[in-house]
């Protein structure tokens, strides 16, 4: 039977205590779609870094009226291609490098061969992964 596209959508307050739960939910979703081993670890690591980055930085300059959320959307198509988006409603700030900090994006770039960052409305990090067999 041909596998149908499948989507996971998660959204919750941008607080550190929710990050692990989102990552675990993503891992379960990916396991159900036959992601495994190092690739499963790497994808969830990249997602965890993106989520943690939002919690740490996205709303630092936001006013009290702004809803502070983190969202994750994972879409696995019939060919096993995963489109993973992690996004927020905050304001992207280009920070100066600080020694001993800022490893998150470096880790994401090392893991995700295909990634884009869209800062036109909040910040939306999009990564593409081909499932390995």
């Amino acid at each position: 039977m041909k596998q149908q596209p499948s989507v996971l959508r998660l959204r919750c307050p941008a607080q550190s205590r929710f990050v692990a739960s989102l990552r675990h939910a993503l891992a379960s979703f990916l396991r159900a779609h036959d992601f495994s081993g190092q690739q499963l670890d790497d994808v969830t690591t990249a997602a965890g870094e993106a989520l943690a980055n939002i919690v740490e930085h996205a709303y630092a300059a936001a006013s009290a009226e702004v809803e502070r959320f983190i969202s994750l959307r994972a879409n696995v198509d019939a060919k096993g291609t995963l489109a993973l988006e992690v996004y927020d409603g905050g304001k992207f700030v280009q920070r100066r490098p600080v020694p001993g900090r800022g490893f998150g994006l470096r880790i994401i770039r090392a893991i995700a061969g295909r990634m884009t960052i869209d800062t036109s409305d909040g910040t939306r990090l999009r990564m593409i992964f081909e499932r390995k067999r």
């Binding site: 550190s16 205590r17 990050v19 692990a20 990552r23 190092q38 670890d41 790497d42 690591t45 965890g48 870094e49 989520l51 943690a52 919690v55 740490e56 001993g100 900090r101 490893f103 998150g104 470096r106 880790i107 090392a110 893991i111």
Partner: protein, 110 residues
Amino acid sequence: MSESNLVKTVRLSGELEIGRKDEIRRALAASTDGAPVLLDLSDVTYADSIALTELLRFCAEAERESRPVALVIQTPQFARLIQYAGLATVFKVFEHPTDALAYLTERLRQ
């Protein structure tokens, strides 16, 4: 946490991630008494860059005080995270506690 006369061992387990940032910092801060430190992270199942930053801060402070630090890491995800972050040469990482202890003991003799 356990101590020997020569080396202090700090054990952290489970997921070292942003939700445990304060706990990680407190656990590491509790071992700043001048002894070499064996950070036994054998039972860590996941780590993120927030945990790496705390470890890096701790190791930098220990280096300023000339206290050797050795990390024991057995989880592939954690080991790869260090590689991806470009920190492979920054931390002294061992797979087995006995090797880490031997390294620290040798450093004490120098």
